[in-house]
């Protein structure tokens, strides 16, 4: 544990506010995490039913189908057979997961079903981004320790379970942090180049206008923001803040629910302004964060405020000074 104490000394309470060992001591966090995983697999089974009809819309798109490497076998079959194999394998694998999620082999089969579905959807012109969160989560879930229904797992099994659960949360928030970091990094580059940058007043309006033009679409609030860029400005800055610090919030369980809700609001915002609805990560924001196993009961608003990135640091500094 030498590197743990090294990190603790240099970064204060960043990492010690989330100690897997302490959560694994009690049974409740593990029980909560286990239930969330179970319902995720049930939800995936529901998704597989939806995709039975959902994949049919690809039938007219045969001419644009060019199998990527991970679905190379499709080159040897006709298109209709490929669609049927993909959607029924996904269905079967999802229900295997619903029954046998406690067993690693069941979780591996689920991952393979999602892997092939995603490969299929990514074989038309451009890659599909909607199913990436499912791909990440189903892959990481493979590494859960197997559990038996009637037995209480040992401390070391609970620790590993919670560690993998934490990695699921990290995978989802990782997506947002990558988006946020790239925005900040490029904002600095664009500012230095004398270009319009992400912190400029008209940044959001330009994004909206560019996207709506490229997709030849419109949206509920997009035209309004284009006409009044200053109204969209604080929301855009807020969204960068939420995205940039998302991965940091993994270590601040008091903020899990609030942050996840904030990120869902970003998706609602991009829908009403840019006509983009990215639902798949919202599923995980709800499942993994709204009742996070790492969130202590009876959290106070003071703790939540002090845990906020930037603002919380400022409050802590002022509090110490006063």
């Amino acid at each position: 544990m030498r590197w743990n104490s090294f990190l603790s000394k240099r970064f204060g309470d960043i990492f010690t506010s989330l100690s897997i060992e302490s959560f694994a001591q009690e049974y409740k966090p593990f029980e909560k995490a286990k239930n969330i995983v179970r319902y995720l697999y049930y939800f995936l089974a529901f998704q597989s039913l939806a995709m039975l009809k959902g994949l049919e819309r690809n039938f007219p798109n045969e001419e644009n189908f060019s199998p990527i490497w991970s679905i190379a076998w499709a080159d040897f079959l006709n298109f209709n057979d490929t669609v049927n194999i993909v959607r029924f394998f996904f269905l079967v694998s999802a229900f295997i997961g619903a029954f046998f999620y406690r067993h690693r082999i069941g979780r591996i089969i689920v991952f393979l079903g999602i892997f092939q579905l995603h490969a299929f959807l990514s074989s038309f012109v451009s890659p599909d981004h909607n199913w990436y969160p499912w791909l990440y989560v189903s892959f990481l879930l493979i590494f859960l320790p197997d559990t038996r229904q009637k037995e209480k797992p040992l401390f070391k099994e609970r620790k590993k379970f919670l560690l993998v659960f934490l990695s699921l949360q990290a995978a989802i928030f990782f997506i947002y942090t990558m988006a946020g970091v790239s925005k900040v990094y490029n904002a600095i580059n664009q500012f230095l180049a004398g270009e319009v940058h992400a912190f400029a007043r008209e940044a959001f309006a330009l994004h909206i206008a560019h996207w709506l033009s490229a997709t030849d679409s419109t949206s509920l609030l997009g035209p309004f923001i284009i006409q009044h860029p200053w109204i969209g400005w604080p929301f855009f800055i807020g969204s960068i803040y939420l995205q940039f610090f998302a991965l940091w919030i993994i270590f601040k369980p008091s903020l899990h629910k609030l942050w996840a809700f904030g990120l869902i609001l970003i998706h609602i915002g991009t829908y009403v302004t840019m006509d983009i609805l990215f639902l798949s990560s919202s599923i995980f924001l709800l499942f993994l964060f709204f009742d996070s196993p790492f969130r202590k009961p009876n959290i106070t608003w003071r703790e939540i405020t002090l845990d906020l990135p930037l603002f919380g640091w400022a409050f802590r500094y002022l509090y110490k000074k006063l």
Partner: protein, 158 residues
């Protein structure tokens, strides 16, 4: 697998994926499956932008006057099997490959595009356009247009 080994393994996966995503983000198509960088909307579009567009000049031997932009031809001369962002992606990548003279990529993206025409006797041009981002939305106005190349679906480069 012990707890510490699992921890190191999971962190390694994250780091591997992160660097894989960053490395592949520099590829022409922006990603190499299954790595994705998630650098979405990272650049604020300039107020004055340059991009590529396609205009249909002739359809089934009849000249179109004025020529029609591809995005205005959905359902008329172009089928709607692909979503609009996919057409935008094809046009952008086609334009970039024409400028870079990447013949294989030009051929590949032309095939995808030309399959979408409702008739296979189409003459179209790839143009580079300069426009004001805020003005262009809803008006289709452009500041400057320059033809890069003309294609005919019967494979004659004019």
């Amino acid at each position: 697998m012990s707890y510490n080994t699992l921890k190191v393994f999971l962190i390694s996966i994250f780091l591997f994926y992160f660097f894989g995503g960053v490395f592949t983000s520099n590829k022409l198509n922006g990603e190499v499956y299954p790595f994705y960088h998630w650098f979405v909307f990272r650049d604020v579009p300039s107020k004055i932008q340059a991009g590529y567009a396609i205009r249909i000049l002739e359809y089934e031997g009849k000249p179109l006057n004025p020529p029609i932009f591809l995005k205005n031809a959905y359902g008329l001369y172009v089928n709607t099997n692909m979503a609009s962002p996919q057409y935008s992606y094809i046009v952008r990548v086609l334009g970039e490959n024409i400028v870079r003279k990447q013949q294989e990529e030009i051929k590949r993206h032309r095939e995808i595009l030309e399959r979408s025409f409702l008739s296979q006797s189409v003459t179209y041009e790839v143009v580079k356009i300069e426009f004001d981002t805020l003005d262009r939305w809803g008006t289709e106005e452009w500041i400057k247009m320059e033809r890069i190349i003309i294609f005919n679906t019967r494979d004659k480069v004019l």
